[in-house]
Amino acid sequence: MSMSKSADAPHRLETKLGIVIPGDDLGEINDKLAGHGVLEINGRFTAVKRGILSEKEKVVSVEPIHSKYTPRPSDLVIGYIEGCTNNIWFVDIGAPFNAILPMSLGPSKAEFGGARSVIDIGEAIICRVQEVEETHSSVVSMKGMGLRKINSGIVEQLPPHLIGRIIGKGGKSLSKLKSNSECRIVVADNGRIWVDGDISGISKVRYTISNLANENFGGEN
């Protein structure tokens, strides 16, 4: 997976070597490195995911066609509060495991037993992934610019690998969508998109998102 923060990372400019599936032999290792979706097995590279094979700067990787969101530190994500204790919120961020939001990283201090009055179960938040532990528990934070509880609008969903498409090159598609719909749009790394504005504007954005989601990504090559 590209570590570049901009969602329109230049993965589309690489040499496309076709679609591979788990178990496919990707050749000898030599001086190359295994990237995302690639494993070294018995001295050779093997694909472990279905996706598009690419080789860039000696890194062989598979860009998956479908994949679950995997959190990485500093990712901007939209989460739903699934539960809470006196000092921790449990947050569904669409990953294989829930994240925790400790009270100390929340938007404001709550009285003992008052966590739900600050953020209630079922509410949505914009937050940032603070750390991902080895056993994959992740911690999110709401300390930072633009991080907050969402009070209006709606959260839509797009498979995470398609968010580059809604943003477009240099953010062009996104700014166009924003001005056409007169909506506020925040695209998070976990594929969730917060849209706020008037009802017809939101509907416009949702229509665009569902069209993107329905396009068959696999049939492209």
């Binding site: 076709g18 679609i19 591979v20 599936i21 788990p22 178990g23 496919d24 032999d25 979706g37 494993l39 097995i41 093997t46 472990v48 995911k49 279905r50 996706g51 998956p64 066609i65 479908h66 994949s67 679950k68 569904d92 294989p96 495991f97 829930n98 056993t135 994959h136 528990s137 068959n216 696999g218 049939g219 090559n221």
Partner: protein, 239 residues
């Protein structure tokens, strides 16, 4: 199993009742993305077997007590729909389905990189909506395609095929009649790229030579089925 030798299933030229030679497979069709609400899915038609598999996850494992700290939990549900058999299959607890779910899980756990997703769960649902013979093989093969469709990392696909014996002749991929009157059944789960095995069962009566022949038929069939799986997953047939 009954009728040892009293029903002729192979003619003098080695042709089977459905026109196949001893080493031939039934027709196979695979498509992916058939359960729109799932994270990955596959529909596989093999002869008149039909299986639909859906994958959910990796997702947070609930309840917490089933979580494993070092890897994901793979949950496999194999089930035959009530209308999948000639005599209606009564829904509910079934020892056969429980066993097949377990051996399918054991096979898939051998290839899925579960250690990448500690504390989460991957749910594999195998539903047989039409059963002929060899549904466990169809279910396991289709499950590996569905897992690949869901983007779950795995070291290889799994191809499962069975060979058996009818009228003292070893044949590949028994159909319903052959299975009913057959004298042995050897289902295997093969990793097509390496020829390694992750699933093996057998019942019946085979000599060492017959056993070797059945084993070879399965190995050969695996690479043929692998081609069809590959096509379905890379946007060839059925996409």
């Amino acid at each position: 199993m009954g009728g040892y030798g009293d029903v002729r299933m192979i003619d003098d030229n080695g042709m089977r009742m459905d026109g196949r030679g001893p080493g031939d497979l039934r027709e196979i069709f695979i498509e992916t993305g058939v359960v729109p609400v799932a994270d990955g899915s596959c529909r596989m038609i093999w002869g008149t077997n039909e299986a639909i598999v859906s994958i959910y996850g990796p997702m947070e494992a609930h309840p917490r007590k089933i979580q494993r700290q070092d890897s994901a939990v793979l949950a496999v549900e194999y089930n035959m729909a009530p209308f999948s058999t000639t005599d209606r299959m009564r829904p509910g607890f079934n020892r056969r389905s429980k066993e097949i779910s377990k051996v399918t899980k054991d096979a898939l756990e051998s290839v899925v990189l579960l250690e990448l997703y500690p504390r989460s769960k991957i749910q594999v649902n195998i539903e047989i909506i039409s059963a002929e013979a060899g549904t466990r093989c169809v279910g396991l093969t289709a499950a590996s395609v569905a897992l690949a469709d869901a983007g779950i990392p795995m070291t290889d696909l799994v191809v499962s095929v069975a060979s058996g014996k009818i009228n003292d002749i070893v044949v590949c991929d028994l159909n319903k009649e052959e299975d009913n009157y057959g004298e042995a059944d050897l289902p295997m789960g093969i990793l097509p790229n390496t020829g390694e095995l992750v699933f093996l069962q057998m019942d019946g009566d085979l000599s060492q030579e017959e056993f070797k022949q059945a084993w070879d038929y399965n190995m050969n069939a695996a690479s043929k089925v692998h081609e069809i799986m590959k096509k379905a997953l890379t946007g060839g047939d059925g996409e």
